[in-house]
């Protein structure tokens, strides 16, 4: 028979200060743990949301991204004729060739320079990415020195409002619109006419990437065709969603490892705190333990009661930690993505996985914190406990 739960709860409440401090310690650790996971998921989400399962992106092999990728127009034209590429509304193949490069702009917050992605796009770029929505102003006119900027760029960089003029490629560009994709990596880019950019950046006929729409089932066929053609086999096709996810992996892994390392160090402190709390709680309740055993409660009932007490502290700490971490969702962070060298804005993302891992983590902390004191309590001799001779 188990010792009643109200005994455990009231025992905790009777030691308000030590219970509060232990709960506080554990909630801090869970907060840091959850925050680092949320950050890592936020980066992953920003990048994963950038791509689509139905789009295939082509870049040069081993280029590690669009920035260092160079593909000739001839090769891309060859691929554009593949029958696997879906047709757009006008009956032409549904593809876009894009230019991707970086420029420097001043950040509002620090007045320091940050790398901002410039993407030269065509009309079909918008059709391939229907998530791109103009939230202010209008789309740029093709052939004119006009650009549109992502919402994160408008928010974080100087002179990026509608009507502002920024200079790059020895040309002044007027911002005519702001677009948003609700948090994907595109929100940290500047878009303009690809043909104009190709000329002004002196790129000749060398594009950075090509994106086309296809049925995911045809991806392997396209891949095989490119690999077998000697003129094209320097090009690597990838599902767009996977491509952008890979771009975030280095950074999200770095944050995960850093966050987990910090959390582990913190958790050692919290577990030691929980162990001390539980040992002192047992020391204060030796006679109670002896009495319960004398009345007929068995060792395992004592063990479970004390383990449950520590787990309960840990659970409360866990929920406070997650609750506090949930407020981080309103914060958006902008930093250089190691994968693309460009500025990327992302938010803390509270997912079910973050909650699940935080609960598992706190259960482990509670168990480690409680098991040794609980075993000690359950192995106290009844006679010694009643005499307080322990």
């Amino acid at each position: 028979m188990l010792i009643p739960i109200n005994y455990t709860i009231r025992s905790l409440l009777s030691r308000k200060l030590t219970t509060f401090l232990t709960v506080f310690g554990i909630s801090l650790v869970v907060f840091v743990f959850a925050a680092s996971l949320m950050l890592s998921y936020g980066i992953e989400k920003a990048m994963t949301d950038t791509g689509s399962e139905n789009n295939v992106i082509l870049t040069r092999k081993a280029s590690q991204g669009e920035l260092a990728s160079q593909i000739s127009r001839d090769a891309l034209n060859e691929i554009a004729n593949f029958p696997e590429i879906e047709k757009s509304k006008d009956g032409t193949p549904f593809f876009t060739m894009e230019l991707y490069t970086l420029i420097n702009l001043y950040k509002k917050a620090t007045n320091s320079m940050g790398n901002v992605t410039i993407r030269g796009v065509a009309e079909k770029s918008f059709e391939l990415r229907p998530q791109v929505k103009l939230i202010k102003g209008r789309k740029f006119s093709y052939g004119k020195n006009e650009i549109i900027v992502g919402s994160n760029i408008e928010e974080r960089f100087k002179s990026c409002k509608i009507g502002s003029v920024i200079k790059f490629a020895n040309t002044n560009w007027t911002i005519v619109g702001i677009f948003s994709t609700d948090g994907s990596g595109f929100d940290s880019e500047i878009w303009g006419d690809v043909n104009l950019f190709m000329t002004l950046f002196n790129r000749g006929t060398i594009y950075s990437s090509m994106t086309f729409k296809t049925n995911p089932k045809n991806f392997e066929i396209v891949k095989q065709k490119i690999a077998k053609d000697k003129r094209l086999n320097y090009i690597e096709p990838k599902i767009e969603k996977h491509f952008y996810k890979e771009q975030s992996e280095m950074m999200s892994s770095f944050i995960s490892v850093l966050g987990t390392s910090i959390t582990i160090i913190f958790s050692i402190g919290a577990v030691i705190g929980a162990i001390i709390t539980m040992y002192s709680s047992i020391a204060n309740r030796v006679v109670e333990i002896g009495t319960l055993r004398a009345l007929g409660f068995k060792r395992r009932s004592i063990l479970i009661a004390f383990l449950f007490e520590c787990m309960l502290i840990s659970f409360i700490g866990c929920f406070i930690g997650i609750f506090a971490a949930s407020f981080l969702q309103v914060i958006t962070i902008s930093t250089t993505n190691f994968g693309t060298f460009s500025e990327l804005a992302f938010s803390f993302e509270l997912t079910l996985d973050v909650i699940k891992y935080s609960i598992i983590f706190s259960v482990i902390m509670g168990f480690i914190g409680g098991v040794f004191p609980a075993v000690r309590a359950s192995f106290l001799s009844i006679i010694n406990a009643l005499r307080m001779d322990v």
Partner: protein
């Protein structure tokens, strides 16, 4: 609770099975020693005596004479080094730890010098505690707890925590907890040791009533001659032997 332990307890509770001599506790050649580092300290030396059913026995003697050790052995919270203890014809010295725990729940009521109530539970919950180890329903438990709290005169203090009760009232709650399972034996270790004279008299009167009216067998360790006077018989201990 395993079948073997069930049998032992059932046998122990079946008063009809008691031998014709009406003995409820039989102590045979009982010895107990403790070890302090390398040294063996004998506490009880070859003790033998019987306690009849319905007895109110006081164990007296100086500190360290072995009277509390004997009480602990009879109550099944300690194991003898040698010899046997029969309670209701069952040799409890043969029982394992888990069997003893079940046996204590059903057969022993404890009264301690410092009451040993659980401070975070109220009077009702303290008395109910041993019943949680039985198969009684919540309703049956409530009836029993209310009955015994009425017997000890504390039916109006059920919701009070130990802190809100006087020493005498706390010991009454402890007595209610000791009798709530209707045990074969009540063991009391200095039940008046922490009480003023008036409260001590009240507690002794209550124990006398339990013995006389409910026919409870009580074994009490005490230093207080006035408390011992209330018992039917007194056994004196000295240096681990009956004197």
């Amino acid at each position: 609770m395993n079948a073997n332990s069930d049998n032992l307890i059932q046998q122990s509770q079946n008063v009809e099975n008691v031998e014709s001599n009406n003995t409820i506790v039989s102590i045979q050649s009982l010895s107990k020693s403790y070890w302090r580092e390398k040294f063996e300290i004998p506490v009880l030396k070859n003790i033998s005596f019987d306690i009849p059913k319905g007895e109110f026995l006081a164990l007296m003697g100086p500190s360290g004479s072995g009277k509390t050790t004997l009480l602990n052995l009879i109550a099944g919270i300690d194991k003898p080094s040698d010899g046997k203890i029969f309670v209701n014809n069952v040799d409890i010295s043969l029982m394992g730890e888990s069997q003893l725990a079940n046996w204590r729940t059903n057969c022993i009521g404890f009264i301690f010098q410092f009451y040993n109530l659980i401070p975070v539970l109220n009077a009702y919950e303290n008395v109910e505690l041993p019943l949680l180890l039985t198969k009684l329903s919540k309703k049956e438990r409530r009836e029993r707890v209310e009955l015994v709290l009425n017997i000890v005169g504390l039916s109006d203090r059920m919701d009070h925590s130990p802190k809100q009760l006087s020493g005498g009232q706390q010991q009454r709650v402890a007595i209610a907890r000791a009798i709530v399972t209707d045990p074969l034996l009540i063991v009391a270790d200095e039940p008046t040791g922490d009480l003023d004279k008036h409260s001590a008299e009240e507690i002794m009167l209550l124990l006398q009533e339990l013995n006389a009216e409910l026919n409870k067998t009580i074994i009490m360790v005490t230093h207080d001659p006035r408390a011992a006077e209330k018992a039917h018989s007194i056994r004196h201990f000295d240096k681990g032997e009956l004197s």
